[in-house]
């Protein structure tokens, strides 16, 4: 699961790092990705792996539209306005799904979800293994994009100093638009990838997104490598917790870990100290 967490978290951390906005609606985009995979599978018998090719451009587009309609107007507003804008978006999307597709649990069961694979003595199914590989690949691609391309550099420059970026002739609005769309495309892909593994329902995003907050805060909000490492730590804590205390109580561990990190190292394990007091 570490790979999936990374892909969800990397979108969240990208949006936060560059736009300085915590996207509280992130889980809802994950849920939409899951529904996309579900409908493609049920109506068109399309395998989630193929849906991925559609979902990435589609969610990129959804990200662009959401940015234009909702986020653009609040990018310079206060934290409270930003928090409640994305919270409002989350409530609206969640219940839109509820109205359109009801609260029933759906499952996606392609052949690979039923194909067992043995790795290092533990039983997985093929969906899990491939989801991990694809998620990590996408995360690394996104990371390379940020590091190696001109656009990536422009985006990082905007994150570091918005005013300086504007003075250098960077179109910050374009940067934010692209950032948001990339983040949403990443989480949408994650939604498609987890669809064979978990039930699809309107509030499916919540558990994952709470987890990805843990991951992101652990790695330092806005830090992409941190997000990758954080997701592996959370996955490890989850496995250890369910091994020692049973699956029922495992979630409590990462929330306690979360509160602990927020209290003692709010900037994350590798982040800059003091970022949290600036509300950055």
């Amino acid at each position: 699961m570490g790979g999936i967490y990374a892909l969800i978290a990397v979108g969240l951390t990208l949006i936060f790092g560059i736009m300085r906005v915590v996207n509280f609606a992130h889980g809802e985009f994950l849920m939409l990705g899951m529904y996309l995979a579900f409908w493609a599978f049920t109506l068109l018998s399309l395998d989630p792996w193929f849906v991925l090719f559609v979902s990435i451009p589609l969610f990129f587009g959804i990200g662009l539209v959401t940015y234009a309609l909702v986020m653009k107007g609040v990018i310079l507003a206060s934290h409270n306005v930003q928090i409640f804008t994305t919270v409002g978006l989350s409530t609206a999307l969640q219940n839109l799904a509820l109205v359109l597709w009801s609260g029933d649990f759906h499952t996606v069961r392609p052949w690979h979800a039923l194909t067992p694979v043995r790795l290092a003595g533990t039983a997985f199914n093929l969906s899990q293994v491939v989801a991990f590989v694809i998620a990590v690949t996408l995360t690394i691609l996104l990371f390379l994009f940020m590091r190696r391309t001109h656009t990536g550099r422009v985006m990082r420059a905007t994150a570091q100093d918005r005013d300086a970026a504007i003075l250098m002739g960077i179109d910050t609005d374009r940067v934010y638009r692209l950032t948001f769309a990339l983040g949403i495309a990443a989480v949408g892909a994650a939604g498609v990838l987890v669809s064979p593994l978990y039930a699809v329902y309107p509030t499916a995003g919540l558990q994952f997104v709470l987890l990805s907050y843990v991951v992101v805060v652990l790695g330092g909000l806005g830090d992409m490598v941190g997000a990758l490492i954080g997701s592996l730590i959370v996955a490890a804590v989850e496995v250890a917790g369910s091994y020692f205390f049973g699956t029922a109580w495992k979630e409590i561990f990462y929330f306690l870990l979360f509160i602990g990190v927020l209290v003692f190292r709010p900037a994350g394990l590798f982040g800059q100290r003091g970022a949290e007091t600036l509300g950055m």
Binding site: T85, V87, L89, T91, A92, Q94, N95, P266, E276
Partner: protein
């Protein structure tokens, strides 16, 4: 301005609420009124931390749940009065509020919001998984036992009880607006560094505000559980519920005494109306009012961030000073 002129809005709302049970006997209507007052009081409680101190929480359902569970558990497992449960809930919420307020003191904006969500999720997990004591995810039905001591009251009595709580909370916030404590809190909210430079103990004030807010929320949690008669962990600790507290206050006007009640009147009536009209259409359609919530929230924070109270003050000022 005289006392009446200054608080005509509050007089209208609370006076209206006090007169309604005398004039109207319709149980459905009175039920809505109780809920309006309770939701208003809850948002007023949230407002102490979120509005006055600027500590925006999205985990206040935690304290609501503590209040609801304390009374329900003491009542069903130990046959104690809900009033005692309320006291226990307040004590627990004071402790929890002080702890979370102290621990997340350095945190601002989204970080604080995230830590409060995590806290309410921890409580949700405990309440829904500790089957032996809390009945787990099945929830606890609260039996109706007539009498004031057991809070088994009729609709009219509930209206007055909720009204008393609402008035107390409103009065408390009025005091906050005009007291030394309130002014210092506003200073911390607007510019913490400047406030600290002036010798205001910013951190301590914030902890006090969050703790107060937690206790006030817990009291309403107890009342709500006794009124509705059922405690469901996935509802009382939900993020949606926390958002709802904030929503009323934001729509009405954050950091104003009357704002939360204005917001509650609008949102609760809207909900009751949409529920009644849409519930028959299709089962999933009850979600529609929540879509409306979300959209309204986005629009209000974007275009009217000062809320209804602020908006009316602005219009009033414009009307008096012709430009």
């Amino acid at each position: 301005m005289g006392l009446v002129a200054r608080h005509w809005g509050a007089l209208l709302i609370f006076g209206g609420a006090a007169l309604t049970p005398i004039l109207v006997r319709d149980a459905y209507f009175l039920d809505s009124l109780v809920l309006i007052l309770l939701w208003g009081a809850l948002s007023a409680a949230w407002n102490v931390a979120g509005g006055y101190a600027g500590q925006v929480s999205i985990g206040h359902a935690a304290f609501f749940g503590i209040g609801a569970y304390s009374a329900a558990l003491l009542g069903t497992r130990f046959q104690q009065s809900p009033w005692l449960g309320m006291l226990v809930g307040v004590a627990l919420s004071l402790a929890a509020g002080a702890a979370i307020g102290y621990l997340s003191n350095r945190l601002k904006g989204p970080y604080f919001a995230l830590s409060t969500i995590a806290f309410s999720q921890v409580l949700l997990i405990v309440a829904s998984r500790w089957r032996a004591f809390t009945s787990g995810s099945e929830g606890i039905p609260v039996p109706f036992r007539p009498g004031f001591a057991t809070l088994g009251l009729g609709h009219v009595a509930w209206v007055y009880l909720a009204l008393v709580v609402a008035l107390l909370y409103w009065g408390l916030e009025l005091w906050l607006e005009h007291s030394r404590f309130g002014y210092r809190l506003a200073g911390v909210r607007e510019d913490e560094d400047a406030a600290q430079a002036l010798g205001i103990p910013a951190r301590r004030l914030k902890v006090i505000a969050v703790t107060m807010s937690a206790a006030l929320t817990s009291v309403c949690g107890t009342l709500w559980a006794q009124y509705v008669g059922f405690v469901d962990p996935f509802y009382v600790f939900s993020v949606d519920l926390s958002v709802r507290f904030a929503l009323n206050a934001i729509i009405g006007g954050m950091g104003t005494a009357l704002g939360p009640f204005l917001g509650s009147i609008l949102i609760t009536s809207l909900e009751t109306y949409l529920r009644a009209t849409l519930s028959g259409v299709k089962s999933g359609f009850t979600g529609i009012y929540l879509i409306v919530y979300g959209v309204v929230l986005i629009l209000v924070v974007r275009f009217v961030p000062e809320g209804l109270a602020g908006l009316s003050a602005r219009l009033w000022a414009r009307a008096r000073v012709p430009s």
